[in-house]
Structure formats: structure tokens, C-alpha cells
């Protein structure tokens, strides 16, 4: 089985590793959009990455991040989930996405999105043949088809400091002092999401400024991912 892993590193803040695995599942009688529910990403914030996190079940931050990744994957339309279908109604691929934070120094959302998209673009699925009579499933590990990823959403985070100063790409220390946060996920000239969970009220022009910068950065980051993928030798 082909298991791609990518590592996203933002300056020396946050190192992140995504490890993805395509697993074949036999679900007789299930609809092919069964996979829709079966591709839930999981973000892991273990004590490995920062002393702020305790071992045990995922905390609120990890749960919210997992949910954000899930929303992003399903609403941005970067993957057509029908592509994962092998035999309609019976077989489909399931994408297990786990994002493991290695070194936590703030701005986890941006790093997660970058790693997620890079890993998706780096995924290859082996060819599968199904024996109609016996129902045996055979995979051919020698032929791979890359997963088609339609777009490349890029997230850009800002924090509000002292009620009116906007800072981009905050570190952990800056996040602790922040009075609010804005995350804009952009793809080309479109916005995939604007996420401002409370905090200090902002003026319209401040939000506009965030959007401007996010759109600009999304192009740069998308180019960076493509360049990196080209340089990998398979």
C-alpha cells in the first residue's frame, strides 16, 4: 500500500507531518457516497509537540481543528469523492488522514491546511480489479494513478493585538496575548472560508485587508506546493 507523508514547516514555528493511507473497504449494499463519512481527518496534538497538551483523549482545540479540516475538505471541493468509488454501491476507497503536530509554536491551522493539501496532491492509488464471481479484490501495486485534486486551498491566519493591530502568522506567544483571531482560507480568487471566532470587533477595512493578503499568499503557497511536488522523485 502506498503511504504518502508530507511535512509542512512554517519558518521554525510548527512542524507538521501528514500521513495518509488509502484503505480498501468492502461495504456490500452501501452507497458509494459512504466514503463521504469515511474520510474524517484527525488532528493530533500530543504532549510531544508542546507541554501545553496532556496525554489522553483529544482536547477542545484538537477537536475544533479536526472539524475545521473536515469542513474544509468537504466544502472546498478539492476532492471529488466520487473519484474514490471503485465499484458503485460496493467498494470505495477510504482516506484516513492523520495530521500529527510535531512542534507546536502557534498558527497550527495554516500548517495543517498546507500539510493536508500537499499530502492529497502526493497521493497515488493502486489499480484495483474485482473478480465478479468470487468477489475477490486484487490490487496491483505496480500501477498507480494519482488522486485528482481540483484545487489548492491555502489558509492564512492573523491575530488581533491590542484591539487594533493585525499580525500575520502568529507564534504561540503572540497567540496567548491576542485579543482575537481571523483565518481566511483562499483558493485562487475565491474564498473557501472566513473564520473569525469572536474576539475584538473589527472594522470592515481590517477584514478586507486580511482577505487581500490571504489571496496574495494563496497563490504563492500553491506555487510552492507545485514546485515541491515536481521535485520529488517517485
Amino acid at each position: 500500500m502506498f503511504e504518502p507523508a508530507t511535512e509542512a514547516k512554517l519558518a521554525d514555528h510548527c512542524t507538521l507531518c501528514v500521513h495518509r493511507r488509502g484503505i480498501l473497504t468492502g461495504q456490500a449494499g452501501q452507497y458509494n457516497h459512504y466514503v463521504w463519512d469515511k474520510s474524517i481527518p484527525n488532528v493530533e496534538l500530543s504532549p510531544l509537540c508542546s507541554p501545553n497538551f496532556r496525554p489522553g483523549p483529544p482536547g477542545e482545540q484538537a477537536q475544533v481543528l479536526s472539524q475545521n479540516m473536515d469542513d474544509l475538505l468537504k466544502t472546498s471541493g478539492c476532492i471529488n469523492f466520487e473519484d474514490l468509488c471503485i465499484c458503485p454501491g460496493k467498494l470505495s476507497w477510504v482516506l484516513h488522514i492523520s495530521l500529527v503536530c510535531l512542534d507546536y509554536d502557534g498558527n497550527i491551522m495554516d500548517a495543517c491546511v498546507l500539510a493536508l493539501v500537499a499530502a492529497l496532491k502526493n497521493t497515488c492509488l493502486p489499480a484495483v480489479t474485482v473478480d465478479e464471481e468470487t468477489g475477490d479484490i486484487k490490487t496491483d501495486p505496480t500501477t498507480h494513478t494519482p488522486l485528482s485534486v481540483a484545487c489548492c486551498p491555502v489558509s492564512t491566519s492573523f491575530i488581533v493585538f491590542d484591539n487594533n493591530i493585525l499580525l500575520v502568522d502568529p507564534t504561540n506567544e503572540e497567540e496567548k496575548l491576542a485579543t482575537g483571531a481571523v483565518t481566511v482560507v483562499a483558493e485562487g480568487s475565491n474564498l473557501v472560508s472566513i473564520y473569525k471566532p469572536g474576539g475584538t470587533p473589527l472594522r470592515d477595512d481590517q477584514i478586507e485587508d486580511c482577505i487581500d493578503r490571504a489571496l496574495e499568499r494563496s497563490l504563492e503557497a500553491a506555487r510552492l506546493i507545485d514546485d515541491t511536488l515536481c521535485s520529488i522523485d517517485r
Binding site: 477537536q63 466544502t75 472546498s76 480568487s189 474564498l191 469572536g198 470592515d204
Partner: protein
């Protein structure tokens, strides 16, 4: 119990059929609907209903005590089952929205807990929950820096905007954006969105939601006024 109607249900339906659904659904509230709490409210926006209660300022658990301000706790309870990651996200949005609105420094070493129970989700659930929590805070007479009003806007496939979408519209919509505004300068407190949209659509939706938020603030005012009149 105080209740006030912004738009009559029939009028709303008539307007929605016409296609220009630039109105909020009918808003009704019951302040102090429960007796044991410091503040309670049941709010309906159309058929979407939620109950919010507030306890506080009350004693705080020692591990959550903050010496310079009150600890604000927000608990969101879904209609059925245990809370899942999507509810945790909603809970976090609500906590971060309400926390700066409350003048927490007036009550150091105490706790203010807000519990929101979803009772019926028929579209714009997040907005309804935030609005009910704000009304419950008003009912509990907690000092606030500003009030908050949440409004959802759905962008349909054909680029039409629908204010305060119902469940049906939400299902068909390309994207749903929820805005929360403060009552002082009508600035943006919260934005939460699902689905992609363009920049122009965001600007348009923002303008629409801001206008609508004013009628929500007016509704708060009239609800509280009615409650005070009745208690006299």
C-alpha cells in the same frame, strides 16, 4: 413572558416565494421562561428554537478561578446525543463571541456560566443560539460592553442571497455565512462560513446582514422593555 414579532410568518413566506427573501424570519422570545436560573430565555427564529440560561456571577471552581476577572463558561447541548466535534466548534465560536462582550473584570474570582440547549434546528441554528445567549445575559442583568446580534446569510447556486435561511435553503445553498455584530458600531465580532464564495458575495452578504442585525437589536430592546412592563 414577553414576545414580539418582527415579520409575520405569512408575510415572510409570501416574500420568500417572490424570491427576494431579504427579511428575517419571525422572532419570538420568552424571557425568564424558567424560574431557578439567574437568566433564561427561549428564542425562536422562525421554527428554529433554542433555550439559553445564565448562572452568575456565582462561585467558581478553584482550578478555573481568575483573580482579575470572572471565568466565562459556555456549554452547548445538542438536541440529541453527546456533543461531537462540530458542536465543540460551535461552542468555541459562541464562547469567544460572548466572552469579550461581558464585562468580566467587574466580578473577579467568580464564574458566569451560559448553557445553551438546541431545541429545534430548522436553519440558522448558530445565529439563533448566539442571539438567545445574548438575550439570556440581558435577562440575568450581567454587565456587558456591547450586545451581539447574529445573522446568517445563504448564497444560493444562482448567486441569490437569502437572509436567515431555513433548513431547506441551507441544504441547497452553495455557502452559508454567519455574521455577528456588536451593538455599538456594528463592527464584525464573528464570521463563520461553510462553502466557498467570492469576495463580492462576502461584501454583499455583510451589508445585508448588518442591516438585518439592527432589527435584531431592536427586537432585544422591545423584548426587555416588555418584560419590565409586565413585572411592574
Amino acid at each position: 413572558m414577553a414576545s414580539f414579532t418582527v415579520v409575520k410568518q405569512e408575510e415572510f413566506e409570501a416574500q420568500q416565494e417572490k424570491g427576494s427573501a431579504h427579511v428575517l424570519r419571525c422572532l419570538t422570545s420568552g424571557l425568564s421562561c424558567l424560574t431557578r436560573q439567574d437568566g433564561s430565555v427561549s428564542l425562536s427564529q422562525g421554527d428554529t428554537t433554542s433555550i439559553a440560561v445564565v448562572y452568575g456571577p456565582a462561585e467558581v471552581r478553584i482550578n478555573k478561578e481568575q483573580i482579575d476577572k470572572a471565568t466565562v463558561e459556555v456549554i452547548f447541548r445538542p438536541k440529541v446525543g453527546l456533543s461531537r466535534p462540530e458542536h465543540r466548534k460551535q461552542e468555541r465560536i459562541m464562547r469567544n463571541t460572548l466572552e469579550p462582550a461581558i464585562e468580566a473584570h467587574l466580578h473577579p474570582r467568580s464564574s458566569i456560566s451560559i448553557i445553551i440547549q438546541e431545541t429545534e434546528d430548522l436553519g440558522s441554528n448558530l445565529a439563533c443560539c448566539i442571539n438567545s445567549a445574548c438575550l439570556a445575559l440581558l435577562d440575568a442583568a450581567i454587565n456587558m460592553n456591547y450586545m451581539v446580534a447574529a445573522v446568517s446569510v445563504a448564497v444560493k447556486e444562482n448567486e441569490d442571497m437569502v437572509l436567515d435561511p431555513s433548513k431547506q435553503v441551507e441544504k441547497e445553498a452553495k455557502s452559508i455565512i454567519t455574521y455577528v455584530f456588536d451593538s455599538v458600531n456594528y463592527q464584525i465580532v464573528t464570521i463563520a462560513s461553510t462553502g466557498s464564495f467570492s469576495r463580492v458575495q462576502h461584501m454583499e452578504a455583510l451589508k445585508l446582514a448588518r442591516e438585518a442585525s439592527k432589527s435584531v437589536f431592536q427586537f432585544y430592546r422591545e423584548s426587555v422593555a416588555k418584560k419590565l412592563l409586565m413585572s411592574e
